[in-house]
Symmetry: C2
Subunit: 406 residues, 2 copies
């Protein structure tokens, strides 16, 4: 592959669309910035004469026709949307490396036996429309079309209205039906590869995760003359809930995680005891039974504290997905490719959800990880060195060539 | 006094300007709603031929000229601004009862010896522009004109721009210079009078209070693949800070209070460990030394937890005011009036700040409290029974008549 061309797309073209002050990107799904990068991406696919189409979820496809057009295609890809303060690589790497693989084949006049399809999925991050992985989940029938279309952002705008607004609602018949296999290249987003000094992660599965929304209601009151023992203070109750859930999770094992990423209170005045608080809880563990038990314990802690502090609480599930297990055949193939190319690698589990999570329900699937500097992502500091990107893209190219001929 | 006329102003005219769904009012200082109630209030003052003027802080005055116009006037009043979800009585009661007192004198053709001035002060609540009591504090030279004018709301709009926008920037020469005395009638906003079955609180002073803004910075990261022990999570650190500060305050004594009324985090995505959190802390105690010690202990707790959880914190003071002690001469006079009228009463300290706090720096000052149902205020449920309002207004009328003749 041509690493300079690939880096130019990543560091220059893509990083400019929604670029932030410290090098990151804000390109939420179905915004104007998303439209801009989609238009560019389609142009790039057309430059190498891929057959381009868009499905009813806004998933974009570019097809390089094989010599056996009836054979199920090998599929690669990821997403171009980002977090509100996201990095340059999360998702983008998989889409643009896929494009680079196809460029390389075109330049070398290689026509594979099986066709190759490159897909950019809609709203993987879940940062604008929850839950995440909506485009891939819709395609894989994990989510119904009505469910996907009716998701709303924090301003109440719906997925379908925004999809139409940016003019990316394609036809249902454009959805891909059959895949031979799906391979997604992605940054690790965690510290393991860097800490072990490895080039490549061969991803054998994705851990399960739960998203909860907790609403705590008390009674708004004056910050001064209201004695502490007469208060029904949802802010102080929520702080105690978070503190106890965190210590339960930290004491469980080194693997369990809990995150409160969104938080709001009403009425929001310095000298008012708040009347209502809402916050989200993200809980993950590679073992489904342990994750389920962590979620149950968290709910119990939250309810107990609500009772103790004379507030009420409602716990609403936003997203739940069990762990995914990828194709052994494909992960073996990825290990073989890394081995052949002389790269160091190990098998690992992903801590983050990916489009591959739901595509795994449709077809044999696996993922390639490259190291994240300091393990960081979902922040502007997200970084992966060019040398690892080159290695990851080479593993992708090598594997795709193997798969198209078998 | 005419209780029905007074209740009509409170329950109908005023409650409609910024009226909310559950009977409360949102009438933040220097908004369009504030302008509407100001225009109405000026009309009501002109209806009884008061001499109306506005000073450079937007404080509004109505003067009933006495037979001895050279004698320092007796001053009454309070504020018409509210919390974002405030009640119908907080502040409003003192302004409209003052108006009713003057109406009653006019109707009975009584011209007092000393003049009487009724004042409505600007931005008492501090809910839009912090700190609170800005108009009265400016008048009393507690705050400089530059300081008051440069306060901004959460959208960055300044006090002076908003004051000009609603056309209520009067002249500096309109500020009141000399007062014989200042009396403010207000709802208690706490539970004491109701619990003791009393009609009237004779307020001998106001407790001190501190407002702090705490900014906690960590590192934004992914909610999934980032192990708990690698995180620098300002949300979890803030939750621990609040929990520990609360328990320190609750264990101190029954009087100390702490409130977190505003809270925000960045970037605010469900699957992001936040990078930055900001929250406010309101700490109060009737003893200044104990309050200062509570604030020092809170700062120490916040800094210790920041160190433990590998985040940084900045603690910025927004407001600090020591306890105020009102005129014994005036509180004795209030007790005598309540006694003469056959109302039950007791002396008490105010847990909330009031315009009287800063006017006390200019002239002998005291306050009259009437009971708050369930001690509640700064919420839509705030309520004071008509019978108590009538008693409070009668104490005000009686006292003003005593003061104007002495
Ligand atoms: N890769 C990624 O950040 N996906 C978002 C879904 C998740 O929260 O894991
Ligand atoms: N009366 C009143 O609510 N004043 C606001 C200032 C304070 O927070 O005490």
């Amino acid at each position: 592959i041509n690493i300079n061309r690939l880096m130019d797309w990543i560091e220059n073209d893509s990083a400019r669309v929604g670029g932030l002050d410290r090098g990151g990107i804000c390109r939420l799904a179905l915004t104007d910035e998303d439209k801009t990068i989609r238009d560019l991406f389609i142009q790039w696919m057309e430059d190498i004469h891929l057959k381009v189409r868009v499905d009813d979820f806004g998933n974009m496809y570019g097809r390089l026709e094989g010599t056996d057009p009836e054979a199920a295609p090998v599929v690669i890809g990821s997403h171009l949307d980002t977090q509100p303060e996201g990095g340059r690589y999360d998702g983008i790497l998989g889409v643009l490396s896929g494009l680079e693989v196809l460029y390389t084949l075109r330049e070398n006049n290689i026509t594979p036996t099986r066709s190759i399809e490159l897909i950019c999925f809609t709203n993987e991050e879940g940062a604008r429309f929850a839950p995440p992985i909506l485009g891939a989940g819709g395609l894989a029938n994990v989510f119904s079309k009505d469910f996907v279309y009716s998701r709303t952002d924090k301003d109440g705008k719906s997925f379908i209205d925004e999809l139409k607004r940016i003019d990316y609602q394609g036809k249902e018949e454009n959805r891909i039906q059959h895949m031979h296999s799906f391979i997604e290249l992605h940054i690790e987003q965690g510290p393991v590869l860097e800490q072990k000094g490895l080039d490549i992660g061969v991803v054998t599965g994705i851990q399960g995760m739960n998203w909860l929304e907790v609403t705590v209601k008390g009674e708004a009151d004056h910050a001064g003359p209201t004695p502490m023992n007469m208060r029904k203070d949802p802010m102080m109750a929520s702080a105690a809930m978070m503190t106890e859930v965190r210590s339960m999770v930290v004491n469980h094992d080194d693997e369990a995680t809990v995150t409160v990423g969104q938080f709001g209170l009403q009425p929001g005045s310095i000298n008012c005891v708040p009347g209502e608080v809402t916050f989200t809880v993200d809980i993950r563990h590679s073992s489904d039974t342990q994750r389920e038990s962590l979620v149950e314990q968290a709910k119990k802690i939250i309810k107990t504290i609500a009772d103790q502090q004379h507030v009420t609480c409602e716990i609403h599930p936003i997203w739940e997905t069990p762990s995914s297990h990828f194709s052994k055949h494909l992960t073996d193939q990825l290990s073989e490719a890394a081995n052949q190319l002389g790269y160091s690698y190990q098998e690992m589990i992903s801590g983050a959800g990916h489009d591959a999570k739901y595509i795994n329900e449709m077809a044999p699937t696996a993922m390639i990880f490259v190291p994240s500097a300091n393990g960081k992502s979902h922040c502007q500091e997200e970084f992966t060195d060019k040398s690892f990107i080159e290695k990851g893209a080479n593993v992708l190219l090598n594997t795709v060539q193997q798969l198209t001929e078998n």
